[in-house]
């Protein structure tokens, strides 16, 4: 049995259905990310699991305990679910230590002190224990919020867009740090975000959410490489959707033949990632370079294909093509694109 189970969960606000009959399972110790555009209902999902909203239907089970279900609503303070808020929601009248110890008030004093100390060490803020929270930097605030949520040793930690308030330069470093802290604490965590890169790099498994429903769940590699739908393919990374005709083991498109994972028949669409195409300079090529985005380690080209289609191609920046160059574009040797709707 999974550690956290969400079954048939629905929640509406007036006429707006924020979450529809949603199912989700999280294993113990797993770091799960819910990825979706803003307004897809992911924050509502989090608030229902935390107990701040009451579901209209469905149930939430945390560690074999039904915390929300027909006829049973456990108030948030009794759920053993910690939450890290988007803007951290630190208590301004308490020090770092006071914030972290807030959820430990019913423990004996010694246990409280040692848990507080241990958690502060975990996030590397033991030297700031007595500092007021308004004196902290953005990154430190986030670590306090995380420590505060982890200190009572919850069954599940929820993180609501935890990096959206930080500088882009800080983000990558903190992402790694937060992941290490969560793994150190052996916490089960559910993180919601609209940032694909964040979700792909951080999570053990990824749930793609759209209009209140989960479109696909799986490890990042799978969600990226084998998107379930055209929308999921487009939302998680960049993609070229090509139409073609499938025959035994391959699909024939206007760019050439791609391999397929499983045999298919008839007319299909394939989602081809920009790195699944390659190109070479060719005066009589089949496409023209329209734009070039140089990103250091690689380059993203925007091409106009002779058939009129715009294509995205990503290549290492070993050899550069100029805007206006005529090029020949074809499938990369090992490319196995996914079939989509």
């Amino acid at each position: 049995m999974s550690h956290v189970r969400v079954r048939g969960l629905s929640k509406s606000f007036g006429a707006v259905q924020a979450v529809r009959e949603l199912n989700l399972e999280i294993e113990r110790g797993e770091l799960m990310a819910v990825l979706g555009p803003s307004g897809c209902g992911k924050t509502t999902l989090l608030r229902v699991i935390a107990g701040f909203e009451r579901p209209d239907a469905g149930c939430v089970v945390v560690s074999d305990d039904v915390v929300a279900g027909p006829g049973r609503i456990v108030p948030p303070e009794k759920r053993r679910v910690g939450m890290v808020f988007q803007d951290y929601a630190l208590f301004p009248h308490l020090s770092v230590e006071g914030n972290v110890a807030f959820g430990l008030s019913n423990r004996p004093r010694e246990e409280r002190d040692s848990l507080t100390r241990r958690t502060l060490e975990l996030v590397g803020l033991q030297h700031k224990a007595r500092t007021g929270v308004h004196e902290l930097s953005g990154g430190e605030r986030q670590r306090v919020a995380l420590a505060r949520a982890l200190a009572p040793e919850p069954e599940l930690v929820l993180l609501d867009e935890p990096f959206s308030n930080l500088d882009a330069t800080l983000r990558a470093g903190l992402r790694r740090e937060v992941e290490l802290i969560l793994r150190d604490a052996e916490a089960t965590a559910l993180l919601v975000t609209h940032d694909q890169e964040e979700a792909l790099s951080l999570a053990d498994r990824l749930a793609v959410m759209r209009d209140g429903e989960i479109v696909q769940v799986g490890p990042p590699v799978e969600v990226y490489g084998e998107p379930a739908t055209r929308w999921a393919a487009q939302f998680v990374g960049e993609v070229n959707v090509l139409s073609g005709v499938a025959r035994a083991g391959g699909v024939e498109t206007e760019l050439g033949v791609f391999d397929l994972r499983a045999p298919a028949q008839g007319s299909v669409h394939v989602a081809v990632r920009p790195e699944q195409l390659e190109l070479r300079a060719d005066a009589n090529g089949n496409a023209e370079v329209v734009a070039r985005e140089f990103r250091g380690h690689d380059v993203l080209y925007r091409l106009r294909h002779e058939g009129g289609k715009t294509l995205l191609v990503q290549l290492p920046s070993l050899e550069l093509h100029e805007v206006g160059d005529s090029v020949f574009v074809r499938p990369a040797p090992s490319a196995v694109p996914a079939l989509v709707d």
Partner: protein, 534 residues
């Protein structure tokens, strides 16, 4: 909203509202229960209507002219000592009408015992309401508007008259409405000056004729006038908000006054504050010293002082606590019903103390008889301070609620959620998160209630138990008997205590008006002086 959604916090809020606002329903009901009560005293009605009308017109015009002129002076002109004068002009707020009346009667100022005399007294002590609101409106006006008017060919003075004044009109009218509500609520001044307004009639019908139904019906008449003013004030304030939203850019730069004009700008306001605050304080001090030396102090003085401090102190705890529970109940239950209930519960502040007293005593008396029938406790409610505290809660709840609510809405809701996620239930959230964060608001609320209860006269007079005289009653009692020296010391104490919230308000505004301790972690965390009602 079905009952299903009403949890215990919402129910608590609704119950509290029923308890606080419920007695007021008795006022209109009295017309059905005992029709004709009013006709027994029909002789009083024309007199009361006439006096009240003259009072409203006179005080309205007086506070409008004085308050607006002074506000324009300190907002649009620069002269030596302006910053001091700006705040000195607020000081009359600390002077209760009946204390100034004691001063005026003691000096035997000619013509003071008349409706016109009452108009003068009210104008002098109530103009700060208009002054404060008009000044805030003038200071929020953008210079581009005035400059646009001048670019269209208006002189500076005419630009102020034709653009500045109309823009501030909602705020000024709001101030006038507040001043008029205070004048209507007053009992001490009109009673001492022999002006037969509604509050005075209620007192006489109640105490001299012992006719409760008639008193309730007179109270109802007074309430309808007050409610009309309240509605006007709300309307005016609603529009003021739009006017302020429209204002952008720098403030209007003040013009420096020179020579005689500058001299007049300093001397006239100072003379006003001298007359309304300093001279009475000096005279009362002198009389106090004489009364002590000559042994004229009333023998009950010590008891009255003790009663005042006890009543004010206990109310300063009780009323803010009720207000806090009410405000938090609305927040914790997130219920519309609770929000509407809280609004209803705070209606009492617009109502005169005498009306509140008359309204609460009837249900209390009824309940008391039932309890007495069972337990034989006698006048458990109306004969003790319980009735008095009840009236204070009804009357001053809005005052405390305003101060607390203004701070409460600045606490981000996420803090509540964060605390609950960490195992705190809703009462824990109140105790461990809100109360520490609301400390300033709670202290303000307690201070305001303390001072108002110290000054309060009509409700205390009608509901006090035997031997329950307060300083305010001592002042009134001695003044009615023309024992001005005896009245001086208690009056002096009341004014000195009354200076506390005025000083607090000045200090808060002195810090640039708005103090921001903003950070993404705690949300924008603002304290502003608007939270303190004048």
């Amino acid at each position: 909203m079905g009952l299903r959604r009403l949890d215990r916090f919402a129910i608590g809020t609704v119950l509290c509202a029923v308890l606080v606002a419920g007695p007021l329903i008795g006022l209109p009901l009295s017309f059905f229960v005992a029709p004709g009560g009013l006709s027994r005293f029909s002789g009083f009605v024309p007199e009361a209507v006439e006096a009240t009308a003259i009072l409203l017109v006179g005080v309205g015009a007086g506070t409008f002219l004085l308050g607006t002129a002074l506000a324009a002076l300190v907002s649009f002109f620069e002269f030596p000592g302006r910053r001091w004068i700006e705040w000195a002009l607020v000081l009359p707020l600390a002077m209760p009408g009946y204390v100034f009346t004691l001063f005026a009667l003691g000096l035997d100022l000619p013509g003071i015992r008349s409706t016109l005399g009452a108009v003068c007294v009210f104008t002098l002590v109530l103009y700060p309401y208009v002054y404060l609101l008009a000044r805030a409106a003038f200071l929020s006006q953008s210079r581009t508007l005035i400059e646009a008017a001048r670019g269209l060919g208006l002189s500076r003075a005419r630009a102020i008259l034709r653009v500045g004044l109309p823009l501030a009109r909602p705020a000024i009218l709001g101030g006038v409405a507040l001043a008029l509500m205070e004048a209507l609520a007053d009992f001490g001044t009109v009673n001492l000056l022999g002006v037969r307004t509604f509050t005075d009639v209620i007192y006489r019908v109640w105490f001299i004729a012992f006719d409760r139904e008639a008193a309730m019906q007179f109270a109802m008449l007074l309430v309808s006038v007050t409610l009309t003013l309240l509605v006007l004030e709300r309307l005016a304030r609603g529009r003021a908000r739009h006017a302020q939203l429209a204002a952008r850019g720098d403030v209007v730069p003040p013009v420096r006054l020179h020579g005689l004009a500058a001299l007049a700008a300093v001397i006239l306001p100072l003379a006003l504050v001298g007359l309304v605050v300093l001279a009475p304080l000096a005279q009362l001090s002198a009389w106090s010293v004489q009364s002590i030396n000559e042994g004229l102090l009333a023998p009950e003085f010590a008891t009255a002082a003790r009663n005042s401090v006890l009543l004010a102190g206990m109310s300063a705890i009780l009323v803010p606590v009720v207000a806090l529970l009410l405000a938090y109940g609305v927040r914790a239950s997130r219920s519309r019903t609770a929000a509407v209930s809280a609004r209803t519960a705070t209606i009492g502040y617009g109502l005169p103390g005498s009306v509140v007293a008359v309204a609460v005593i009837v249900p209390l008396g009824w309940l008391e008889q039932r309890i007495d029938g069972v337990a034989g406790t006698g006048l458990l409610l109306t004969g003790t301070v319980i009735g008095l505290f009840y009236a204070y809660v009804v009357r001053f709840l809005a005052l405390a609620w305003g101060a607390i609510e203004a701070s409460l809405i600045r606490i981000p809701r996420q803090l509540d959620d964060a605390a609950r996620g960490l195992g705190a239930d809703r009462l824990d959230v109140l105790a461990r998160v809100h109360v520490p964060l609301l400390r300033a608001g709670l202290v303000t609320a307690a201070l305001l209630v303390f001072v108002e209860v110290m000054k309060e006269l009509p409700a205390t007079l009608l509901l006090r138990p035997l031997g329950g005289d307060t300083l305010a009653i001592a002042v009134w009692q001695a003044t009615t008997e023309s024992l001005f020296k005896t009245a001086a010391l208690p009056a002096l104490l009341i004014v000195l205590v009354g200076l506390l919230p005025v000083a607090l308000m000045i200090r808060m505004s002195g810090r640039g008006g708005v103090e921001v301790e903003a950070s993404p972690a705690v949300g924008a965390w603002v304290e502003d002086p608007e939270a303190v009602p004048a």
